[in-house]
Symmetry: T
Subunit: 70 residues, 12 copies
Amino acid sequence: MSEHVYKTVELTGSSAASPEDAVRRAVERAAKTVRNMRWFEVVGTRGHIEDQKIAHWQVTIKVGFTLEGA
Amino acid sequence: MSEHVYKTVELTGSSAASPEDAVRRAVERAAKTVRNMRWFEVVGTRGHIEDQKIAHWQVTIKVGFTLEGA
Amino acid sequence: MSEHVYKTVELTGSSAASPEDAVRRAVERAAKTVRNMRWFEVVGTRGHIEDQKIAHWQVTIKVGFTLEGA
Amino acid sequence: MSEHVYKTVELTGSSAASPEDAVRRAVERAAKTVRNMRWFEVVGTRGHIEDQKIAHWQVTIKVGFTLEGA
Amino acid sequence: MSEHVYKTVELTGSSAASPEDAVRRAVERAAKTVRNMRWFEVVGTRGHIEDQKIAHWQVTIKVGFTLEGA
Amino acid sequence: MSEHVYKTVELTGSSAASPEDAVRRAVERAAKTVRNMRWFEVVGTRGHIEDQKIAHWQVTIKVGFTLEGA
Amino acid sequence: MSEHVYKTVELTGSSAASPEDAVRRAVERAAKTVRNMRWFEVVGTRGHIEDQKIAHWQVTIKVGFTLEGA
Amino acid sequence: MSEHVYKTVELTGSSAASPEDAVRRAVERAAKTVRNMRWFEVVGTRGHIEDQKIAHWQVTIKVGFTLEGA
Amino acid sequence: MSEHVYKTVELTGSSAASPEDAVRRAVERAAKTVRNMRWFEVVGTRGHIEDQKIAHWQVTIKVGFTLEGA
Amino acid sequence: MSEHVYKTVELTGSSAASPEDAVRRAVERAAKTVRNMRWFEVVGTRGHIEDQKIAHWQVTIKVGFTLEGA
Amino acid sequence: MSEHVYKTVELTGSSAASPEDAVRRAVERAAKTVRNMRWFEVVGTRGHIEDQKIAHWQVTIKVGFTLEGA
Amino acid sequence: MSEHVYKTVELTGSSAASPEDAVRRAVERAAKTVRNMRWFEVVGTRGHIEDQKIAHWQVTIKVGFTLEGA
C-alpha cells in the first residue's frame, strides 16, 4: 500500500466568492476526469480587479492522485 | 490594446476578520490613489497574536494597474 | 523593549472547515505550551482529498514568541 | 465567465534560431492536442553547445488552457 | 533532431527500500503510458514514519519525454 | 558619486513583436515620468495566447533610477 | 482524526555510509525524545571531504510529529 | 489601529563605509518624501570593487510605511 | 565523531546598535538553554523604523547544536 | 560515455543588440579558454539604461563543459 | 585557522549505479586538480532515461576548498 | 566598453571580527590571482560557534571580473 505511484497536475480555479471556493471548484472539475485524488497544495493566489474591486480570485493548486496499476 | 504598460505596487492590508478582508482593504485603499487596477497577487500572509489569539491578519499583495498614455 | 530575542516554531494546523480555522487551531494548541506568542507567518497551504472532495485543509505556519530573560 | 478552471502543462520547445522561436514551436505543437490555450509563462531557458557554438535553444514554458465544462 | 518539443510530467514514487528505488518505480510506472522518456529531475524527497521508523521514501520527479510529430 | 540612493519600480511591458520589444516599451513609458534610470532586471516573461497562437509577450522588469538630492 | 496539530523540527543526521543512513540516524535519535513522528522531508544534502575523499554525508530533514491533546 | 494599509517601496543605498551605513542612507533619503515609515527588510547586499578593493557597499531594502486614510 | 545528530532552532535577535549585535544577542540568549551550539546561518535581516530613523535591527538566524547521545 | 564529470562556470555577456547576442558573446569568449562545452542555462537578464534608453543587455549564463580524463 | 578563504566550484558527476556514486566520481575527478577540498553540497539530482529505464544519474554538487596563502 | 564578458567566482571569507571583514578578506585573497574585479554579491552569511560564542563569521560572495580579450 505504501508503494503507490502518484501523479500531480496543476490547476487554477476561479471564484467571485473566495479563494477557498476557487480551490473547491478546481477540485470539483478535476473529479470529472481524474480518479483517486489524494491531496492538493496551493501554489499561488491571484485575482482580477474590475471597477476598482476584486472581481474574482484565482487559486492555483497542484493535485496529486494515485496511478492505478503501479 | 495588447500593448499596454503596467505598473505593480506592493501593499499590505490588515484585518481582524480574515485574510480575504485584509486583501479587500488593501485594494479599497489603493483605489483612492491608483486608477485602472487590473490584478493582484498574494505574496505573503502573516498575522499578529495578542493574548495568545490571532489579533489580525496581514496580507501582502502586488497590485498591477495600467499606465495611461503608454 | 526593542532588544528581545524571539524563537520561531513551525506548526501545521488542520481543519475540515477552512484554512483560517486550521491556523486558529494551530495557534490555540501552541498556546498550551508556549507563552508570549507575537506573530505568525503562513508558509504552506495543503489539503487532503477524500471521495473526490476536500476533506480537510492543512496550513503550516511559523509562530514567533518572545523568549523571557533575554 | 470568470469562474473557469484552467489546467497548466509544462513544455520545452527547442530551436536553432532563437528562444522566441523555441517558445513558438512549443505552442504550435501543443495546439495539436490542447484546445483553448490562454497564456504561457517562461520557466527556464537553456541551450546545447556543439563545436563551441550555440546549437539550439531550449525554452521551458508552462501553458495554461481553459478546461471545458467546468 | 534538435528541434523536438518535450513535455514534462510530475510523478511521486514510493518505496520502503530507498529513494533510488522510489525513483525507479515512478519511471517504471510512467513507462506504461508515456513513450520516449528522456530525462528526470528530482524535485523533492520526503518519507513516512511509522512506529518511529522510516516506513517508506517518497520521491517526486519531473519526467521529460519527446512529443511525437512536433 | 558612489553614495547615491536608488529606487526600483516594477513594470510590465507588452508587445506582439518580441520580449525585447516589450522591455523597450516599458522603459520608454517609464521615461515619461521617471528621470535618471540606470538599470533594469527581467523578473518574469509571460504571454497571452489567442486563436492558439502567441498574441503578445508580457515581460516584467524592475527598473532602478537615481533619487536626486540623496 | 483529521484535525490534529503537527510540529516540525529540523535535524541533521550524518553518516560515513550514505545519505539514507544519515536520515535514518536523525530519525532514530529523534525517536528518543519525540513521540508520534509522522513524516520527514529532506531539505539539504551536504558532506565533509577529508584527504580528498567523502568522509561523511550530512542530510538535513524536517520531521513532523503529532502534538497530543490538540 | 490594527487595520492599517501599508505600502512597500524598494530602495538601494550605497556607502563606502559599511552595509549598515548604506541602509541608513536609504532610510534617510526616503524620509524626505515618505511619511510614517515602519519597517525595512534587507533583500540584497552587493558592492563595487575598484582597484581590487571594495569601493562601496550597495544594500537593497524594502521599506514599509503606513498609508494615511486607510 | 563524524556521526553526530544536530538540531536547528530559529531565533531572532534585535539590537539598536547593529545587525552583528542582534546576532550576538540571539546566540547569548540561546546559550542559557541550549548546549553544544556549533554554527549559525543568517536567514533574514529586518528592522523597525521610528521617527523616520532605524530604531533597531532584527536578524533571524538558524542555530545548529549537537544532540547528545546520538 | 555516460559517466563524464562536468564543470560549470558562470559568465555574463553583454550586447547592445539583444539578449541572444549577449549569450553568444559569452559563449564565444569562453571558447577561447574552455574546451568541450556542452550546455548553458540562462540565470539572469539585466541591462543598463543610458539617456533613458536601453544601452546594453547583460545576460548571465552557467556554461557546462566536460572535464577530460574523468 | 578560522580565517581561511574558500573557493567553491560547481561539478556534475554521473553514474549508472547510484546518485552517491555520481557524487563520488565528481569528488574523485576534482581531486586531480584541486587541493584541500573541505565540503560539498548537493544542488541538483537529475538523470537520463534510455529505453524507458534510468540509464544514469547526474548529480550536481558545489565543492568548497581552502585557498592557500589567504 | 559595454560589450565585455564577465566571469563570476564564488568565495567564502571568514573573520573573527565581523561579516564585513570576512568579505574584505575574500576580496583581498582573490586580488592575488584575479584581475579586473568589478563587483560582488553576498549570497550567504554563516558562522561558527565555539564555547557558546560566535568564533568567526563566514560570508560567501560571488565576485565578478572582466575577462580580457572578449
